[in-house]
């Protein structure tokens, strides 16, 4: 953390303890989650990583501790129906091939994005590839309700498992590209992801309490928009706020950025679907 002179007093006052965010612990239906842990070795400027949950107000936090209160679960239920629903020219549903149900995907989210046959794949692409190739169905729109509900359903199967994406081997060049994007100061405001989420997490920027910009809870249910927000939609919003030309959802740039951002959360438990203000 880049300490600025005017913060020194606050840091000394709370020496030894986390000062940037609250110290509450998240447990969902009795299961404890790791929302704070040692940063993965590849992180140069941060020693502790925190889930975005830790930066939210008690009211927003509360919506995530009980699945009956979590508004994202309505969409997860819809995805369960979609999982069974026949679509496309082959007369198949997801369940035709995945006979054990979505539970078959436990652990998958923790390792996504990943490289398959030299191509960097994120969850949305895995889903659309199967819809098109196996079902003969139309691809879903990246941030569309059906797609993000399905991403949430599959992600939920890994809830409570630590994020653990690979950054070496085939993944290395994509990871390097994502890292470069993370540290580039875009737009007329010349702000990088790191300016806000690495140098200033824990600080207020206008009415927003800056988190480390982690994606272990995505897709997240955003109360303001009353729907599930995809990772790439969130990236787009953050880059747009720098008065920059954003990248497109599903672009190679955002896929690489997603791999890099996911790797910054390696070690934090998956919370999908999380709730945000």
């Amino acid at each position: 953390m880049n300490l600025k002179p005017w913060m020194a007093a606050a840091v000394i006052g709370l020496a030894g303890s986390a000062f940037a965010q609250d110290d509450s612990t998240l447990s969902i239906d009795g299961e404890e989650f790791v929302t704070e842990t040692e940063a993965p070795a590849h992180l140069e400027n941060v020693s502790t990583i925190y889930s975005g949950w830790r930066f939210r107000t008690p009211e927003t936090q509360a919506l995530q501790v009980d699945d009956f209160d979590n508004p994202a679960m309505i969409f997860v239920d819809q995805a369960l129906d979609l999982f069974q629903q026949v679509d496309g020219t082959e007369g198949k549903s997801c369940a035709s091939c995945h006979t054990d149900g979505p539970e078959e995907f436990a652990g998958l989210h923790a390792k996504m994005p990943k490289v398959v046959d030299g191509k960097l794949m994120v969850m949305e692409e895995l889903i659309n590839t199967h819809r098109q190739d196996a079902m003969g169905a139309e691809p879903w729109k990246w941030s569309g309700a059906d797609m993000q509900a399905m991403v949430a359903l599959i992600g939920l199967q890994s809830r409570g498992m630590p994020m653990n994406v690979a950054i070496d081997g085939d993944a290395a060049p994509f990871w390097e590209k994502g890292k470069e994007i993370y540290y580039t100061r875009y737009g007329q405001l010349e702000l990088s992801c790191s300016n806000c989420h690495e140098d200033n997490y824990g600080n207020m920027i206008r009415a927003d309490h800056l988190s480390q910009g982690m994606i272990n809870g995505f897709p997240t249910y955003r109360l303001k928009q009353a729907k599930l927000i995809s990772r790439h939609n969130r990236f787009r919003g953050c880059i747009r706020d720098t008065r920059a030309e954003t990248f497109a959802e599903g672009s190679d740039e955002f896929k690489a950025l997603e791999l890099y951002v996911a790797s910054r959360a390696n070690g934090l438990d998956i919370e999908t679907p999380a709730v945000r203000q």
């Binding site: 405001l189 010349e190 300016n195 200033n200 207020m204 920027i205 206008r206 008065r243 920059a244 030309e245």
Partner: protein, 158 residues
């Protein structure tokens, strides 16, 4: 710089001048991060400066807390509080910091409010689309910079 001096004379001679030629963003002369002449050739209006601190492309309190504006909600913590800033910096230094803080503080996160070049993937305001106009406008006009500086100069504690 010649034309700036010229404008200064014109203001003095005409008495009630409504318009003066501004120094272009690309022509601003920085000395150790400070800018000694008014960018608009006119004095600033501190009341409008206070408005810009909260709104539009200024929005300074997104990052800075200012006690004098405590009636407005949500002051940020990214930059230092600006209380007493006029005790720490001269008017010329404040003008330089607001016009292009990167000249005073190398690599600072503070945006450059009177610069039009050197951006990566410049957008069309907050649309997320590419900028396609002919001429890039700075975040604040020359007169708006002067207004903000006129407000900052009032922030004295001593």
């Amino acid at each position: 710089m010649k034309h700036v001096i010229g404008v200064g004379c014109a203001v003095a001679l005409a008495g009630t001048i409504v318009w003066a030629e501004a120094v272009k963003p690309t022509d601003v002369v920085f000395e150790d991060g400070a800018v000694s002449v008014s960018l608009s050739g006119m004095p600033g209006d501190p009341a409008n400066g206070a408005v810009l601190m909260n709104k539009g492309s200024g929005n300074c309190i997104a990052c800075h807390a200012v006690d004098a504006l405590s009636d407005l909600p949500f002051h940020g913590e990214v930059g230092p509080p600006l209380d007493g800033v006029a005790d720490r910096w001269s008017e010329a230094e404040l003008r330089g910091i607001v016009a292009d803080a990167k000249k005073m503080f190398d690599g600072t996160m503070m945006p450059s409010f009177y610069r039009t070049e050197g951006f990566i993937r410049l957008g069309d305001a907050y649309t997320g689309k590419a900028f396609e106009g002919a001429e890039v406008q700075p975040l604040l006009t020359a007169q708006e910079i002067e207004d903000v500086v006129a407000f900052l100069v009032t922030l004295k504690e001593e």
